[in-house]
């Protein structure tokens, strides 16, 4: 039976992380499509999705062979590393210490790069556009696949996490097809902050479970960890921002 206190954060983390990654992949696919039409871009995207789906189909059954505690521990450690990295970067971006991710600038850079390649190798341009789309979707999709597996596999929540990721893909595709430009208005850093909080919370939870710890309140402990990391993230952002204000004074 689905326990919503665990399933909701899993679906939410998979959905939000996927929105961030799919928006980034969409920018690259759009750049390829703008230059050479949708056919090579769609072929590259389809090939990348096939590679990702194959990876999931190959890895999925293997995960069932790993003892549950070992799986929870390994996934917990990886989630902590990834979640803390996202949260740290989101804090620093929010405070202006490192620049924000700019989809318009990435779109312009990708288009310029493809344009340069077009001048050098006109006959192979479809191939270059297709490979660009393939690479973009594959690299961004890897993170989505890991997050879905990580937040889903430890607690038998692969299906809800996959649904969260698929909903994000559908949402970005529909909005992207409608506006037909990079989705630069998506508050990417805020989403990354939220995902970092959730992945870190899951990381602590699964690492503890993997070590044989029974958290008080069981799944509800996740909510406490979310609150702790949210507070730490907000405090971290405020500390980094106060350094900037001191300089301004």
């Amino acid at each position: 039976m689905l326990i919503w206190s665990t399933a909701a954060p899993a679906i939410g983390a998979a959905f939000l992380a996927s929105v961030v990654e799919v928006v980034e992949a969409f920018t690259i696919v759009l750049a390829a499509a703008t230059l050479r039409g949708w056919r090579p871009a769609a072929l590259g995207t389809g090939a990348a999705l096939a590679v990702l789906a194959s990876a999931v189909l190959l890895l999925g059954p293997l995960l069932n062979q790993v003892p549950l505690h070992a799986l929870q521990f390994a996934i917990g450690v990886l989630l902590l590393l990834m979640g803390m990295s996202w949260l740290r970067k989101a804090c620093l971006r929010s405070a202006g210490v490192i620049p924000l991710h700019d989809e318009d600038a990435i779109f312009a850079a990708e288009t310029a790069q493809l344009d340069g390649a077009a001048r050098r190798h006109d006959a192979r341009l479809d191939w270059i556009a297709g490979m660009t789309a393939l690479k973009g979707v594959l690299l961004e999709g890897l993170e989505v696949v890991f997050i879905v597996i990580a937040v889903g596999a430890g607690g038998g929540l692969l299906l809800p996490a996959s649904i969260g990721a698929l909903l994000a893909c559908a949402l970005v595709l529909v909005v992207g097809m409608f506006v037909h430009r990079p989705l630069s208005l998506v508050p990417e850093n805020t989403l990354k902050f939220g995902v970092g909080v959730m992945l870190s919370a899951f990381g602590v939870f699964w690492t503890g479970e993997g070590l044989g710890l029974d958290w008080p309140g069981q799944d509800l402990a996740l909510l406490l960890f979310v609150a702790i990391f949210l507070g730490a993230g907000l405090a971290g952002t405020a500390i980094a921002r106060s350094a900037a204000m001191e300089v301004a004074r």
């Binding site: 902590l80 590393l81 990834m82 990295s85 890897l142 702790i228 500390i239 300089v247």
Partner: protein, 77 residues
């Protein structure tokens, strides 16, 4: 080959973004595991160290980062 290298770089970058945070986190996890498995204390002590140690690490790391404006002013001075 280039694509494979980029995939490998992406995978490594996913988990090891900042060397200091990564090392500190792995150390914290090792300490928590030792407290839970070896110390004979209540396992929740190890769990609490893990749950509170991670946010402390995050804040300490963010605090260490030099703001680019401050760095520029210092280097100009």
């Amino acid at each position: 080959m280039t694509l494979l290298k980029e995939v490998a770089a992406e995978l490594i970058g996913m988990f090891f973004g900042d060397a200091r945070v990564t090392l500190a986190l792995l150390l914290l996890i090792a300490v928590s595991a030792a407290l839970i498995e070896l110390s004979g204390l209540d396992p929740l002590v190890g769990g609490t160290v893990l749950a509170l140690g991670c946010p402390v690490l995050l804040i300490a790391n963010v605090r260490r980062q030099k703001h680019p404006i401050a760095a520029a002013i210092r280097s100009a001075a």
